[in-house]
Amino acid sequence: MAAATKETSRAAGGAPRTQPPRRIMQTVTLIPGDGIGPEISAAVVKIFDAAKAPVQWEERNVTAIKGPGGKWMIPADAKESMDRSKIGLKGPLKTPIAAGHPSMNLLLRKTFDLYANVRPCVSIEGYRTPYTDVDLVTIRENTEGEYSGIEHVIVDGVVQSIKLITEDASRRIAEYAFEYARNNQRSSVTAVHKANIMRMSDGLFLRKCREVAENFKDVKFTEMYLDTVCLNMVQDPTQFDVLVMPNLYGDILSDLCAGLIGGLGVTPSGNIGANGVAIFESVHGTAPDIAGLDLANPTALLLSGVMMLRHMGLHQYAAKIQTACFDTIKEKKVLTKDLGGNSKCSEFTTEICRRVQDLA
């Protein structure tokens, strides 16, 4: 169909219109995940197909296996595929609460050095929450901080957990945050910290943010205490733009912001690593109670896919799919159960595909 339009425009002799780029297929590693993972991944693949996005999927499974030396690692073929394609889309993975092998997400993070977790939170028109007009991005340092995993029992009944803050990691995340702000036309970056209590550790984080801010004078830099951010966030979320913070605060705040726009079922998320690797994922759980019943909501994974397309530079496909998705939700005729309707996942997917094709 693309070829036909090209012919017609040339034949018509009209002004040379910008030709859509030749469809160079880019490989993306798809990790369906557990629980509802496979069905929502299939839904996303179907929608991308309908939009004719130049994406070639390489499906891989990720489970923890014990490598030589007793260290836990991901399967070799998954790692090789990611290293080659550099872009991944991942569904939900099971994380056990009790001790055992380390969480899968943590393993992926360590393997690819995914240091930045980016979660854009935008209010979805058509899915009403008490908070309207939310439009912010949380950027969370993902490798150190409180999640270092270093804990010891000093004496019976006294436990010490270590929070690690390093200069390099703080500088790296600050630089990423400012670059993100610049590339996505965001006007300000706010560093969130508790340096009045944790004077050395958060103090170091803050110092690095301030230093990096010097090199990015076109982006406004502010700093705010974590408790003030929480207080203001639930009263007026429109005052925030890009937020950058260490690990634990980022975890809490990003989930808080997801709650403002409607929960984890509609929030996209991306993890950026060193060496240009980026894995986009849906952050909700595996929902084992509805797995296989065609009831899941693929919106979160779909919006993460849209984020991925933008990262890859395929903005028009991203816009098309996002508009189709939001229009479907706005129409309220075909919605999955968690969005307030009673359609099946497949029906929801088909509706979005239809809209995408109409928009093409």
Partner: protein, 385 residues
């Protein structure tokens, strides 16, 4: 009936003078009401309660003035021992701390504003407020989050209690630079303190007739630390079979609080999470200006606001909202067993909020702190019978 008695007492007082007047006026009315004024009750040794007052930084002094004005207008028999302590203004030496502790030892009850912790590392890793909390062993911080009638927010009719352990956890002030560029900050969790706060939470729930206590944690990541906290809560929960016990991970908790806060009743948690959730919940009902809070140790009780901020940008502009501090002062009066006065103050404040005519800037109005205090004082003079 109490109002009539009060009228009589005042009339009597006006007719007398000097020491007799002071004695009559400072006698707690609850005593007079119960005895129907037929015979003079035995003179109380401390008929005026003495309370330590620490105005703190930022708008603290203004809020304290509001409290004093309201107390004076309501003839409330409380005298304040004031201590001006501030870390940012270099008025936080050890001698001052000693004097403060002496005052606390005799008074046992205090009302305080926020003592701001500066960010600059002046060599002290521990902020003054933390030191105060540890010295007085104020291990439990209780914040009662309830929606104010007449002021609607996105979530109305909220009624939560947040209990936070505030002497250990992430605020242990144990930090060091092991290698240049790498800083370690220690978070300490002990079984003893976790059990103590859990027991406090369950006792509180039992005393106030609450049905559920939820422990907030991050034990899926901090398996040993928060795992110990969770285990302690579960152990204590077994001693209270009538109260339901649940637990929830902190990030999920934050999300649920903004989507459906009604599922929570009493929440108990370690230090940092408590800080976050206190502020979050305060924001849900109207902000830092409307939520009172208190801190308890085995021997002392300190009354303050729920969300603790110095609010420096409002200093001198007469715009701070004294509601939180006044409601906290009312709680303090209840703690001192001055039930009548406590009701008088809190009902006056709530009436002003409900009427909606005098509202400070944070609640969407244009009134000043002074206007609000004036309105509360007016309502005090005409208490609802």
């Amino acid at each position: 009936m109490a109002a009539a008695l009060r009228g009589t007492a005042l009339a009597l007082a006006k007719g007398l003078g000097g020491a007799r007047l002071h004695q009559l006026v400072s006698r707690p009315l609850s005593v007079s009401a119960s005895l129907c004024g037929s015979e003079a009750p035995p003179a109380r040794a401390d008929s005026t309660f003495k309370v330590t007052m620490i105005p703190g930084d930022g708008v603290g002094p203004e809020l304290m003035t509001a409290v004093k004005d309201v107390f004076k207008a309501g003839d409330i028999p409380v005298e304040f021992d004031e201590f001006y302590i501030s870390e940012v203004q270099n008025r936080a030496s050890d001698e001052r701390l000693e004097k403060l502790l002496d005052s606390m030892k005799s008074n046992r009850v205090a009302i305080k504003g926020k003592i701001h912790s500066p960010m600059e590392n002046k060599g002290e890793l521990e902020s003054f407020e933390m030191k105060l909390r540890r010295t007085l062993d104020l291990f439990a911080n209780v914040v009662r989050v309830s929606s104010l009638p007449g002021y609607s927010t996105r979530h109305n009719n909220l009624d939560l209690v947040i209990i936070r352990e505030q002497t250990e956890g992430e605020y242990s002030s144990l930090e060091h630079e092991s290698v240049p560029g790498v800083i370690e900050c220690l978070k300490i969790i002990t079984r003893e303190k976790s059990r103590r706060i859990a027991k406090f939470a369950f006792d509180y729930a039992t005393k106030t007739g609450r049905s559920k206590v939820t422990a907030v944690h991050k034990a899926n990541i901090m398996k040993l630390g928060d795992g110990l906290f969770l285990q302690s809560c579960a152990e204590v929960a077994e001693l209270y079979p009538k109260i339901k016990h649940e637990n929830i991970i902190i990030d999920n908790c934050c999300m649920q609080l903004v989507q459906n806060p009604y599922q929570f009743d009493v929440l108990v948690m370690p230090n940092l999470y408590g800080n976050i959730i206190d502020n979050l919940a305060a924001g849900l009902v109207g902000g830092a200006g409307v939520v009172p809070g208190e801190s308890y140790s085995a021997e002392y009780a300190v009354f303050e606001t729920g969300a603790r901020h110095p609010f420096a940008q409002a200093v001198g502009r007469n715009i701070a909202n004294p509601t939180a501090m006044l409601l906290s002062a009312a709680n303090m009066l209840r703690h001192l067993n001055l039930e009548y006065h406590s009701q008088m103050v809190s009902e006056a404040v709530k009436k002003v909020i409900k009427q909606g005519k005098v509202r400070t800037r944070d609640l969407g109005g244009y009134s000043t702190t002074g206007d609000f205090v004036q309105a509360v004082v007016e309502n005090l003079r005409h208490p609802p019978t």
